[in-house]
Amino acid sequence: MEDDAPVIYGLEFQARALTAQTGETDAIRFLVGTQSLKFDNQIHIIDFDDENNVINKNVLLHQAGEIWHISASPADKAVLSTCYNKTSDSRVVSCAAVWRMPSDWETGSIESPDDSVHNPQTLELLCHLDDGNTRNSACVLWEPLGDGKRLISLADNHAILWDLQESSSQATISSTATWEGKGQLKFTSGKWSPHHNCSQLATANDTAIRGWDLRTMSQIYCIDNAHGQLVRDLDFNPNRQYYLASCGDDCKVKFWDVRNVQEPVKTLEEHSHWVWSVRYNHSHDQLVLTASSDSRLILSNMVSISSEPFGHLVDDEELSEGEDNHQEDKGKEPLKDSVVSTYEEHEDSVYAVEWSSADPWLFASLSYDGRLVINRVPRSLKYRILL
């Protein structure tokens, strides 16, 4: 199983921000944003050559500050947005901006890969997502499947919907939703639902998950105490419109049906520390990836709550052939849900994981020490899903 071995790539800096290049569906490409207070921060464009199992990287400079969140436009390959920290006058401010990659980054890298490290090109700023108030942006969300003209930024306790103008050079606020209440008001994370004609948004703050209707900018549901502690991330099931996965500091991953917010549909408790990221596979929504600060990455096969619950049967024997280090999840769900495998290539906390937008069987994870690992779904499972 030579090609099942993970491919590891090391960044020089610490990093938290990772995204697949959403607009790109041919090449397997990930974008990583670094965090460094001392040096110019970079955006690494990681190309993975599936056939040769080789990584090609290109580096673009992101001089505005350390990158906390990165997301790519679904329409235009070259456009991306970041949330970054900027230190000025002994104050730390989080900003958000939309950038365009220089058009020739690719050619430069191929000809002289060594140069690109030392003489990297710089991102071209398209516009700041700044409404005039000083706010700390947590993340920027592009309209899923959209034309790259609409995006939402989550800043403090506001969700701001932006319209990008011609050539994306200017952003205007089209509407704002504000969460008023007691306690910790900052949104930590959010997700734009691909369902309902992209009219819904889910956000996380403290231990609660809230759903918003973007047409009226009003709250439509609220899962209080979704997690015992902070909710770190959430993701929508790409095929089942009411299903939502969330993860948080209580080490759990929970699956919700937003029509019934009292109880989670299912709970996983496999990680031994906070879970920072949860991602549904775009095509096969039974595959769920979770990344945790216990330095592990877990791929779960949640058949029972997927859109194809009867698609295939997982049987133990076959599973155990696939991977050595997978754990059976018998205690929780004797049916068919199981942990497919646990990936332990990271040495530090894993803060981000993303499926490739081009290959549904491939994913990348990023740990704080700057290690990017590209892995595949075990072949046996892949065939079982496909066949």
Binding site: F39, V92, N225
Partner: protein, 836 residues
């Protein structure tokens, strides 16, 4: 010649007694009656010289004498011979004389007889003549009397007939009289005598009339009997008499059965209604209290059955509820006993009697039996439903013996029915009720145990709530000196081990007492306990499985629920309770479960036919629960400290902070809390194994931690030329250290628990630090804080390197996140910490 003459003379003329004998012998010889036998005969016969022998030859003898003997001898011989001849002669004379005499007398006798016979013949002739005359006369007389005799016979026949007729004619009147006097039995007897005759001669008008009259009267009588029967006021004996008479009157037996039963039914129903009335008004709380008092009074009142029943009928429904024993007593005494009575009399009447009397209607016994079965079943069903209702009301767990005794009595009394009605399903159903009641009771005990358990947990919770305050105050008072902390804390929560022991002891006691109560069901003197299916199959394994095992499972279950529910709602369970419960579960695993089960098996002599839950399963479950609880405890405590650390990191502006002068208060608080947790855990769990370290390890490791490596790391990360080195260094370090599972399972000892808590806290600290940006003094403050933690936390954990590593990471990360990394001098840090 003389010899010849002599000898011949001697022979013929022999006399004298000596000769006589010899003559006898000669005669004998002559007739062949030899006394000597043949052996002697032979030589005599052969010798011709033997004078007595048969071959005697006188010639030869004489010659021989002449030849052989002398003269003297011959003379002697001659004299001897003469003597002999003489005696022989006298003998012969005597004989002849004797015989002659006899002959003479015989002749006389015959002559006499001849005379007598002649006379007799004459008399006989006379007699026969007389007889002939008598016969003649007798024939003559009988011939004359014959006519009169025939007449007399005829007359006597007529007389009998006339008497019968008279009886018949008098019958209606007599019947009427009987009717008046209510001598029904006599009337029926009379009628029965006449019935056939009347029936036979009913074609004659006069008889017809009589018959009709009789019928009318008998109908009336039957009517009256029926009336009497229906009235039902009469005693059972009267009733049975009625029935008997009616049967004799050819009443249809079926109808009678029905009537009899319906009559009995009404009486039994009234009994049942009495019982029902007792069930209905059920004052829930007071009844239980009053139960014993009632029982006393009822025992006094239960002297006689009639007394009791009149009591209850006099006081209708609003009687206060009696206890179950009294109720069953009443049911037995009134209902069951009268039921038995009814069954006996019914069987007497319709079955035994019918078998005796009526051969014609053979199907009556079967029919009657069937009816009786149905009747008994019906009533018994009603009775059972009442009893069951009553038993269901018996919710109080306290007085089990009462219930057992009641059930026993119930069961025992039903045996009487079983004896009377061998084929009946009633006793079986009764036993079923008993079994149901028993299992129901077991269930109640289970729920009582469960509530007891939950109650005692609530008590523990309250008990924990109060001393916890004193712990807090004590540790606050203990304030500055941390070494003082543990001692003061140790005094305050005096209760934790005590609570543990008292809780487990009280639960164990409760289980024991419940087992004892349940054990009453299987006592030897209880009849139903001897039923094989009760003893073996249902009950004993039921006790084990549905009482003991269920309870243990419940304990584990509820413990697990504490973990789950508390996880989401943010720790509503006090951590100390979690700790306590985990210890209890652990104790259960090690000893208590096997003890309880052994106890149960011993008490109930279990022979398990169905598969039972083995001890190991339960132990595993308990251990799992204990593990879960302890893990949860670690999680909760870790979370509490984590929250403090997180708040302290998140709420501070680390960029614009002042130069550190003190350890932050929150760090002191962390250490204090950790210390008190350590004390708390130490009260219940053993110390556990830790990796060896020297006595002054805080000093030693601290210097290592802060000086060489840390400095090197800072140096590396701040040289702009080599950004890679940091990662390299840290990665290499991680490569050689084991991966740390933060929220992992802990072992059942103090050190492991504390390690878990500290791991969680420090990891949180690390992750929070990574999310912030620090200024120069921010970094320095973190350095100070970490050093402080380092000084105090190492002692709690199994492997102090773990603490070093995590603190290292924290300082390293904050250095990374620092915009102006200028670490503080180690000596300064130490001074600040010492001062704090």
């Amino acid at each position: 010649m003389d010899g010849d003459a002599d000898s011949s003379g001697a022979v013929s003329e022999d006399s004298g007694p000596g000769r006589k004998r010899r003559v006898h012998g000669m005669l004998k010889l002559y007739y062949g009656l030899n006394e000597e036998g043949k052996a002697e005969e032979q030589p005599t016969s052969l010798d011709p010289c033997d004078i007595n022998g048969p071959h005697f030859d006188p010639e030869h003898f004489l010659n021989k004498l002449r030849r052989e003997c002398s003269l003297a001898e011959l003379m002697d011989q001659e004299t001897c011979m003469v003597k002999q001849i003489r005696s022989l002669d006298s003998d012969m004379q005597t004989l002849v004389y004797e015989n002659y005499n006899k002959f003479i007398s015989a002749t006389d006798t015959i002559r006499k007889m001849k005379n007598d016979f002649k006379k007799m013949e004459d008399e006989m002739d006379c007699l026969s003549a007389n007889m002939a005359a008598i016969t003649k006369f007798s024939a003559c007389i009988s011939g004359t009397l014959q006519d009169q005799h025939a007449q007399i016979t005829k007359l006597s026949g007529v007389h009998t007939l006339l008497r019968k007729l008279q009886f018949l004619f008098e019958l209606p009147a007599r019947l009427n009289k009987c009717l008046e006097l209510q001598a029904y039995a006599q009337a029926v007897r009379s009628h029965r005598h006449a019935r056939c005759v009347l029936q036979q001669y009913s074609h004659l008008p006069s008889f017809k009339g009589i018959q009709d009259d009789c019928h009318a009267i008998m109908d009336k009588l039957a009517q009256e009997l029926r009336q009497k029967f229906r009235d039902g006021g009469s005693s059972a004996k009267d009733l049975s008499e009625c029935v008997e008479l009616l049967l004799q009157l050819d009443e249809p037996a079926e109808e009678l059965c029905d009537k009899f039963l319906s009559h009995a039914q009404s009486r039994l129903q009234s009994d049942l209604q009495g019982l029902e009335a007792e069930i209905r008004p059920y004052p829930s709380a007071s009844a239980v209290k009053d139960a014993s008092a009632h029982r006393l009074s009822s025992a006094a009142a239960a002297g006689s059955l009639t007394d009791n029943s009149s009591n209850t009928s006099a006081i209708p429904s609003p009687t206060p509820n009696t206890d179950i024993l009294e109720f069953i007593d009443r049911g037995c005494n009134e209902f069951v006993s009268s039921l038995c009575l009814v069954i006996t009399s019914y069987q007497e009447l319709f079955i035994n009697h019918a078998q005796k009397v009526d051969l014609a209607s053979k199907n009556i016994p079967q029919m009657a039996n069937g009816k009786l079965q149905a009747f008994v079943d019906d009533l018994a069903a009603h009775y059972f439903s009442l009893v069951e209702q009553r038993i269901q009301q018996e919710k109080g767990v306290a007085d089990n013996s009462l219930l057992v005794r009641a059930l026993d009595r119930f069961h025992r009394r039903l045996q009487a029915v079983a004896k009377l009605l061998p084929g009946s399903a009633v006793p079986n159903r009764g036993t079923e009720i008993v079994i149901r009641a028993a299992t129901e009771r077991v269930k109640q005990y289970l729920s009582a145990l469960q509530t007891f358990y939950m109650d005692s947990l609530t008590d523990v919770r309250q008990a924990l709530a109060t001393p916890r305050l004193s712990v807090a105050s004590a540790s606050v008072a203990g304030g500055g000196s941390l070494l003082g902390g543990p001692t003061s804390a140790r005094d305050a929560p005096n209760s934790l081990p005590e609570l543990l022991s008292s809780l487990s002891a009280s639960i164990l006691n409760q289980i024991k007492s419940v087992l004892a109560s349940v054990h009453l069901f299987t006592a030897k003197d209880i009849t139903f306990s001897n039923k094989p299916y009760f003893k073996v199959v249902t009950f004993c394994s039921g006790v084990r499985e549905s009482l003991v095992v269920s309870f243990i499972k419940f304990v584990c279950q509820s413990s697990r629920q504490f973990c789950e529910s508390a996880g989401d709602k943010g720790g509503s369970t006090p951590p100390a309770l979690l700790l306590l419960l985990s210890r209890i579960c652990l104790d259960y695993e090690t000893s208590t479960i096997s003890y309880i089960l052994t106890l149960t098996d011993e008490q109930f002599l279990a022979q398990h036919h169905s598969p039972v839950t083995p001890v190991t399963t339960l132990c595993a479950e308990a251990r799992e629960a204990a593990q879960k609880l302890l893990n949860h405890y670690v999680k909760v405590q870790g979370l509490i400290i984590s929250q403090m650390l997180r708040k302290s990191v998140e709420t501070r502006d680390w960029v614009n902070t002042i130069e550190p002068r003190n350890v932050r208060a929150v760090m002191k608080r962390v250490v204090e809390d950790t210390t008190s947790i350590d004390v708390q855990v130490g009260l219940l769990y053993e110390e556990g194994v830790r990796k060896a370290h020297s006595s002054d390890s805080s000093k030693r490791t601290f210097s290592v931690y802060s000086s060489s490596r840390q400095q090197a790391r800072y140096a590396a990360s701040y040289t702009p030329s080599a950004p890679m080195d940091t990662n390299l260094l840290s990665n290499i370090h991680k490569l050689f250290s084991e991966r740390i599972d933060i929220f992992s399972s802990v072992e059942f000892n103090k050190v492991s628990v504390m390690t878990g808590i500290i791991k969680i806290s420090l990891k949180t600290f690390l992750e929070c630090v990574r999310l912030r940006t620090f200024g120069r003094y921010g970094l320095q403050q973190i350095q100070v804080d970490c050093h402080y933690l380092q000084m105090y936390l190492w002692r709690f954990v199994s492997d102090e390197n773990l603490v070093h590593f995590l603190l290292d990471e924290i300082v390293g990360s904050s250095a990374h996140r620092c915009v102006d990394p200028a670490p503080m001098e180690q000596s300064v840090i130490e001074v600040i910490c010492e001062r704090g």
